[in-house]
């Protein structure tokens, strides 16, 4: 009886994790493509962060990053190399969120605005957003990505791990022994 309940709870958690993976993947595909289709707009926004000044680097970031985001989104949607992809999302999201925060603080300081009233196009692919909403959204995305790194979202994944590891404690099935 208890075992049945536990199984049902695990199934719900699996479904929630798979949904979170799809939402994260879908969001990255959408955000990536919306920038990839208008790379010059994204180029202007990247330039505003003043991270790089060399044209080749600036163009490479603005030209390739949106496609890379869409690629990662597709992998998550399909459930391919989920943990590795999620690591890449964390690697992108954390510094980007810090950059957005830094820029928002600069705008708030320069314009004398309360922090949460700062609104600007951060280059996320969704146009102008209030900074507090953006930071909250990114924190949630980072949380979901970390959960995927921890192994969530296996259900309905085409190939969860690209580099398969044997499952500990599992008796190999006849097919596995071949």
């Amino acid at each position: 009886m208890n075992e049945g309940r536990t199984t049902a709870r695990w199934r719900s958690a699996d479904i929630v994790a798979a949904l979170a993976r799809w939402v994260l993947g879908g969001l990255f595909v959408y955000m990536g493509l919306s920038k990839a289709l208008h790379p010059e707009e994204f180029l202007k926004l990247v330039r505003q962060y003043e991270m790089v000044s060399h044209p080749w680097l600036l163009n490479s970031i603005a030209g390739a990053l949106p496609w890379f985001e869409a690629f990662c989104g597709l992998l998550l949607l399909g459930g391919v190399a989920v943990r590795g992809t999620a690591v890449m999302l964390v690697v992108m999201l954390v510094p980007f969120t810090l950059l957005v925060l830094k820029r928002a603080l600069a705008i708030a300081g320069a314009k004398g605005l309360p922090f949460c009233l700062v609104k600007f196009d951060c280059g996320c692919g969704a146009g102008e957003v209030f900074i507090c909403n953006k930071l909250l959204e990114n924190s949630l995305l980072i949380f979901v990505a970390c959960a995927l790194v921890a192994g969530w979202g296996r259900r309905l994944a085409l190939r969860f791990s690209l580099l398969r590891t044997p499952i500990q404690g599992r008796t190999p099935a006849p097919a596995d022994r071949v």
């Binding site: 289709l37 926004l45 505003q48 044209p55 490479s60 190399a81 590795g84 004398g112 791990s161």
Partner: protein, 207 residues
Amino acid sequence: MKRVLLEAVLVAMIGTALAFVANGLSPRGLKLTRDYFPGSNRTGAAVQPATTEAQGGTGRDLAKPSAAELAVARLKEKGLQVVDCKQALELFHDPRLAQGTIVFIDARNDEHYQKGHIPGAWQFDRYHPENYLSAVLPVCQVAQQVVVYCAGGDCEDSEFAALFLRDSAQVPGEKLFVFTGGWNEWTERGLPVETGGRNSGQRGVSK
């Protein structure tokens, strides 16, 4: 965890390679070696662009120059002439516009141009000059005054389009004028607009 990191490296490598290929194949892709912002110096303007103030927060120190004043100073520093909306309107109503000796150049992308532009303006998307130069260059060579505009406000596309025309296409600098208020100011004042292609006949007044 080691495998996860290895997987992440694989994703990064394959994804980066595919991303560069996609950018190269995309008709809207960026040319990696092109300097889209030649001679740009953004000191002091880093915080200003692409921001809007939410309700209740004007916060501007009157002693400090506005973004528009900074833009005008920057343009003049680069040797570009500037026209305001009143002067642009005078040029628009000048009979020489019909003769082609006054020309308006819209430096925005195709999507924005099709939605609406100053009637008779030629499109010159500076990010894809190869697509427009063959049409725009002869027009600029014949014209006595070339007025370049983009969205206005913090938009710099008109500035870089004018610099491209002057420095790369050899259009004499004394002909070139940047309309700093741009499309936003033009439409805010309810001035004539044209939608679709150039001389499409779909004219109206902006709301």
